[in-house]
Symmetry: C2
Subunit: 456 residues, 2 copies
């Protein structure tokens, strides 16, 4: 928010300059910004300004801008420039970003843009890997040395390499069969004696990931081992790319968004508050419809107790208290389990210990809340047995919440599904239905005693 | 989970070795692991094994292990070693981790441990900054050059520097008044002519953060500008430390945990499923008690319609359907707003456009679900007016959900509170209370028509 608030005035100035046909001035304002800020300003310009601006940027600036824009925005911006120019921009972009852009264009445009590129060979291998894999996140812009190279030669190689190559902190070492055999930090290279061979100073314990591994596996390795760069190898262990730390930040943020959205029953993790109405409904309505089914099931359970409400209308006031408290407690459980699973903090063999602890907490919280609500309602309604029924039902439903909120996400993880899919809808279905059932069954058992205290 | 599953057998072997008093063998198994894995194994060993293991590790290994352990685990492990040894370990640890450990020890032990250190001056400045600030996350282990140094001299300096210094990829440049004036990538240093001065090759546009800034600001800058290292300056713009990319990963993960927990009404973001029962209740019960208050308020609203239930018990079946759908839709809204705010994607001036769009979506989803449930229940109960009342109430409550779920988190952000604090409890309070009110008021209005179709 603060970032955009700071940049909005600049977008405003650029807009005004373009409106007055001061194109050079508008573009030069833009050029003074860091590419990351250029992307933010670009995103708040209107379509006409975007198109005008792109006409006044050179190829390298356009490539830097495209590297920084969100995927969808890049694809839209690409439509404003000619195919020939797009080919040049793709050549200048980071290979991984170029590959993402090509994937977001229509197949026909992508094919034509590829033919316009001078060096499609950096990008083509990246198009083979699905988006969510390590291969889909990697870049081919890395430097690779031979074990017998001297460090002086390696420095010379570094000097001659394209300065845009993304990964200057670590150099990878592969043998004649192109197998990854070591890694060499730039610092070790610099301080080594110039005649030493790479072989002598490199680290042979290379942590790497397979190109087909899930991007989360790559993120986990980089976080766990504090890596800035992770080499990616293909099926026969040849080095095919590297993943850099900034890509992993994106993965971690995407995964957190996914968890938050799924826990709140939003199926489409790309949604934002201003996404198109039809997209939002597509991503949200299915869970609400599932909620409809479970809510009607709960209504059906209540309907089995119809005669109760005729005799004791007051039960209708409090049935939702029991269901609601269970739902809230279960959401707490689910959040803790889902987050602990995501951060790799739950051991399989601890499942029963965790369940036991959560049951214990459910019991204690149930007793505390049951006593408070039971006493309060008993006094309010002048009906001690109504209070007792409510209190007991709350204890029961808090135990249900402990079981469901713990086991459902663990079960989802066990069968290979995202535990965050155990969103509130599913867990609440259980605490609602069982909450009503427990409360109304207890009320039926205690009916003669409750009726005794009714004013009518 | 997979990580721990892989490491459990090693922990088992170490445990067995120690049990058979084969201490050297147990320790050597441990030493073969990467420090990050050592930390994971250490955490699943029992207390006795931890203590035995620490007796068989040398100072540098212990320091590496302590650098990797979770803060709380480090403080517990520090109790197993003598004060003199602890001083040596603190000297070898990363200064930022050493400062964290000193902060977690009892003040008396921390004071004594500091007197046992040979180089407390690396750690002392870090103790001044609160945990959640940029200063609290930074390390003092960085390298700083003079503008007039030649690149050859800089490389010599690098060669002589402590190899444990954490940040070998970027060197910072400060003038005689110790003000930060530039930054120099190691790659630029390596490929520069040896007689060039640092002044000529450094980048003068340094992105930096104030030591007292929130750690989230540091994380935002590093993510936005794709930085591996962020320099930290004090009030008079002198370089006092650097934040490295791995620290920022921790910040981002902590922030995501915080959002997920707060959205699910868990107040204490350090809780894990196996945290102590009393800690969990402290971090969870307050929100459930707030929920109790709002649930009783909703019950009071329902109680004003007591005579309705006596006449039309069937209303009790469906009141929760209206409240529940509103609650689910509102949770979806809150999740999207909170996440967009966290990722800096919401502009202040777009608030009304967002609200309008969410109202529109609420209306459409309300109509779709209202028609489905209205028709279904109308047919099930053979009571068209009951269906109409339900349908209208659903539309109304979905609009309420759109308003509350959008404006409540934005309002929290506006008054400087965490928008994720608009957790389900608060939003659900509104959709529950208003859901019941809308449904029962409509039922009262349509009462003569509904009664007409009742079987009794």
């Amino acid at each position: 928010m603060s970032q955009l608030a700071k940049l909005s005035p600049i977008a405003e100035l650029i807009h005004r300059a373009f409106k007055n046909e001061q194109f050079a001035q508008g573009a030069s304002l833009f050029l003074r910004l860091h590419p990351a800020d250029q992307a933010d300003v670009f995103e708040i310009l209107n379509e006409e300004n975007r198109s005008q601006l792109l006409r006044h940027l050179d190829i390298p600036t356009t490539a830097d801008l495209f590297d920084e824009l969100e995927d969808q925005e890049t694809a839209e911006a690409a439509e404003f420039i000619s195919l020939e120019r797009l080919g040049d921009v793709l050549d200048e972009m980071d290979p991984d970003q170029a590959a993402d852009l090509l994937g977001d264009l229509s197949p026909e445009i992508a094919r034509l843009a590829l033919t316009e590129m001078d060096e499609p060979e950096d990008v083509l291998p990246l198009l083979e890997y699905p988006d969510e894999t390590a291969g889909g996140r990697m870049t081919t812009a890395f430097l690779c040395l031979h074990p017998q190279t001297t460090t002086a030669e390696a420095i010379e190689y570094l000097r001659e390499a394209n300065p845009d190559t993304d990964v200057p902190y670590y150099l990878f070492v592969s043998d004649e069969t192109e197998h990854l055999v070591g890694v060499l930090g730039l610092r070790e290279l610099v301080i080594a004696d110039p005649q030493t061979t790479v072989d002598e100073v490199m680290d042979r314990d290379v942590i790497k990931v397979s190109a087909m591994a899930d991007q989360e596996e790559a993120a986990r390795l980089m976080t766990h081992y504090d890596l800035t760069v992770l080499p990616v190898t293909d099926a026969i262990d040849q080095l095919v790319g590297v993943i850099t730390h900034d890509d992993i930040l994106d993965v971690i943020e995407d995964e957190a968004t996914e968890d938050i959205y799924r826990l709140a029953s939003v199926a489409d993790t790309d949604l934002e508050p201003e996404s198109a109405v039809v997209e939002q409904i597509k991503g949200r309505l299915p869970w609400l419809l599932l909620n409809t089914a479970t809510a009607l099931f709960a209504a059906w359970i209540i309907s089995m107790f119809e005669d109760l409400f005729v005799k004791v209308a007051v039960l209708a006031f409090f049935q939702s208290v029991v269901a609601g408290q269970g739902g809230s407690a279960a959401s707490q459980n689910v959040a803790m389990i889902v987050r602990s699973l995501a951060l790799g903090k739950i051991e399989t063999k601890r499942v029963w210990a965790i369940l036991l602890r959560q049951l214990w907490i459910g019991l204690l919280q149930g007793i505390i809340i049951g006593v408070i609500i039971g006493l309060g309602v008993g006094i309010w309604q002048g009906n001690p047995y109504l209070g007792i029924v409510l209190g007991l039902a709350l204890v029961g439903n808090m135990l249900v919440a402990g079981i469901v909120g713990t086991l459902l996400p663990l079960a989802f993880q066990y069968i290979g599904q995202d535990p965050a899919m155990t969103s509130s809808v599913l867990v609440t279905a259980a605490t609602d239905a069982l909450g009503f059932l427990i409360f109304l069954s207890l009320a039926k058992m205690f009916l003669p005693l409750i009726i005794q205290y009714l004013p009518y």
